[in-house]
Symmetry: D3
Subunit: 211 residues, 6 copies
């Protein structure tokens, strides 16, 4: 067992591991930077929930957001759509990742901390308020990543698809105060920025919000 | 006022802003990735404090660690030793940064959130347990950054200087349970890694720990 | 005092320091390359002045052009529009830079050369013919830098703004023979290049030249 | 004929053209940055000559230094030792470059400026004081480029060879006041820097200076 | 004579040598990667010839495709249109390259292998079936390289010119079964991809195929 | 079914896919460049076998070498040692890759070519002379890749380990004429190059060759 030295040193892997390698043309995003941004966004959504009277478990919220992609160290971003992988193959790959995570906890984490890390490295997107905020925050960051490409003039339509799909997912959590605030107070400012494809993005968004 | 759209979009600045530009040869580190790593390290030190019976305010701890370098967006890493800047000039630059941060909060953050962000964007390294953990976590990440260069064979002595200075700062917090654990259970594993300059680093460390 | 070794070695800082970091998408420009190009452009404008009967002080012209951004070594490109900096803060930053330049001359330049370097590292854009040529050359290079982005299809409107602003500044020096030559014999060839946004750039230029 | 638009736009080629591609490991150098640095160094050597009573033709000095590698635009750095090229082949390549330069002047430079550019784009390293200063400045920059690799710990011996060969060439101009100053007042400061291979570099230098 | 160690080690030069440096904006291509792709494409065209009853000399086909750009090691991609080079100069440069190749074979290749490498490093695009397949494969890869830029939204018209010129050359070999298959079964799928400039590319292609 | 357009376009994935990402510090290697080099090395080993009287099936040899890593497109370099993956997990990942390859052939390759590509995309390292040459060529390229790091002064011992392991594998094929030639005529020239760690590498090699 290496103990927590291995854990700290391994953080550097997440600094060099790109999300969806080769996908973003203007700006690449590492797993470490994504985790930071998701935690910042979750912090903001938590603020709004609390201001609107919800009770937020902050330890749980930060913990979920910060650690939600740590396990990508082990096998990379294998949940990314891989061509020629059937549903069955994808399930096998997820199983492989889960087993490697378990091996890591058993072999590297000192016993008195194992329970904590087992919790942190398991799926965080559960039905708790904090789990839902994580689901939304993860999509808001993806939405901003695709918007970054659109705003800089990247003409590939795949970024519009991701933008659309991100908003669709966010809307599924529209019962949340923070999602309502995002849709009414943040998204309009984003659409107000200067960029070429503005009309199309506004149209897509209005279409989705109409329902 | 742009509102929180500006805040979220501005996170991307921290993804592209390098810490101490031109300093690290083998691996550069962005402010976003550093913030992520400091939050992960603070989480671990918090675990140890709690396991050893201390009461940890987790919301405060995560908040301090995650946001401690956000203001580098405004003027960059101006606290980095700049040649030919006197102590007086450095104080002036810090003053400029503080004023820009205040302008940002007044102009960009909606009023109902201003108090929260004023707290997050002010100096986090206070005398609370969480403030002390932040001071230590910031140095542990710096120590690993310089160790990364040393381990890959970078022969410049400046990384040894940083390694030494990081440990010196960490030792100043040796009353903390988590610092004792770091020195007894994590640092030895680091020094056990394979690298050329091992003897020298071990000697430096023993010298510092002796006192 | 390090003497002139420090000065020569410091030139390498200008090779790695990017102008307006993160601003140009297709091609970045270092301070060293910019200084070279400004000196080449100033040389051409000087040629034209001389051919049209003006007397050019060539030592002064080259000296101004070559050294005009050397002091960016000390604090970077702080005159770049920084968000959230008030006019007052900007003045403070300029003062800091001036003091650091003075410290550098006093501490690093041997006494018998201090007067020469004080002259070279002070503001070169004065009312002499050579000072005016420097002002124009600096803008012509900026104009070509933004045109480089436009020609490669970068859709962000900020490059059009810079193009427009550069021409506006150049026109302010329209009494100069070299500016007249630039507007009548060089700019039309630039607008004759192949690029997507041609009509818009031609229209902007004609609008500005009309007045 | 494109006229001087082509000349200005072509400067950007020198910003992207690397000197000796693939040769420097820690820091690459573009032709534009090299030209800037050579002009800065020539300016310093000119200062010293003038202070010691020599008469310096500053226009000629700056012109030579700034433009000495402009023709690399046409065929690249073909004077770099190419394996398997005999002396005869090298002469042929130099002839090709000279003809392309002549074609460029005839076809692109307006007639009233052709004489000036023919002068600037021809070999500058003649027997005048300014030509000799150019020869020395070119080597001093090469010496600092190789020292940059040595200081950062690059273990390949080829940088020591270049360091040695640069000093040998500089010494050939030891009648110049500025070379005497370089050897007595600048080189010792360089050798005083912190780096691993110090003893070897000092020994090489002393050996060369002894004769 | 270094023998074949030199030959193997020299392959790494082709890994770092970019085709048409500075030309492709979204994706650069090395000579090694191009050689690999041309060999893969030639393999496919050979398949089709054989399936349609032609006799293919596979050793000759692979050998031609794999080695057709090896000599770029010696003087780079000098056949690339260089501005200001007359036809005469270009012929001289080709002569220089041929002599360097001969020097290389004489000096580096062991005698018992010289005949084989003289064959491999000479011009492969002869009138044999395999030489014709090489000519077509080289253009198909160039066509895909330019299509890569077009598809990603690069607006410069030079990629359309290359696309057009590639198809024109391919059509000259329209007697080949494999060219007929390429035009009827592969090119339509390429034009069916999603990209902005689709109509224009389809129009260009139809225009060329009409004749 | 996309047909062979998809196959050709997919070659570009191999141009951007790095071997063992993050492993090589001085020079990265893409799968495309590696495939090219392995085919060149196999060609040389085939030459030697033929010159020494063996009969070489050249079509089979080139085909094996060129295509041996094509399937890395689908799931990347999953055979690379992944931490925390047990032998069982590794077998599962290999199974996933094999199924994706089969899906690709069934769905993308036209029926009349499927048999050819099934052969090319299956494991090429069989017991035929050509399969053995592929095994050796793959290791020779790996040996040169690690030697590239050692020669440039990379101090990490992992490159010595790879060097040692490559030679060990090559020696297992010492019955081959081409392996005997490699050990007697090529490897000594490699060890004769200039580099810091020479004695150690020579010692390692002699140790291995002794047995």
């Amino acid at each position: 067992m290496m103990g927590m030295h291995e854990y700290i040193q391994g953080l550097t892997n997440l600094e060099t591991l790109n999300r969806a390698p080769g996908f973003f043309k203007y700006q690449e995003h590492t797993v470490a930077a994504h985790s930071f941004k998701v935690a910042e966004i979750a912090q903001l959504l938590g603020d709004i929930e609390e201001e609107r009277g919800q009770s937020v478990n902050w330890q749980r919220l930060y913990e979920k957001a910060l650690n939600h992609d740590y396990t990508e160290r082990f096998i990379g971003d294998i949940k990314t759509p891989v061509k020629y992988a059937t549903h069955e193959l994808r399930k096998q790959l997820a199983g492989v990742e889960a087993t490697m995570t378990q091996n890591f906890i058993d072999n590297e984490i000192p016993e008195f901390l194992q329970k904590r890390y087992a919790r942190r490295l398991s799926e965080g997107k559960d039905d708790t308020l904090e789990g839902q905020i994580l689901s939304v925050s993860d999509k808001i960051d993806l939405l901003y990543e695709s918007f970054g490409e659109i705003q800089k003039g990247n003409p590939q339509t795949v970024y519009l698809d991701i933008f659309r799909e991100s908003i669709t997912t966010i809307i599924r959590f529209k019962e949340l105060n923070s999602v309502q605030y995002f849709l009414s107070d943040i998204l309009p400012d984003l659409l107000n920025e200067e960029f070429t494809d503005k009309q199309r993005l506004v149209a897509i968004t209005q279409e989705l919000l109409k329902d």
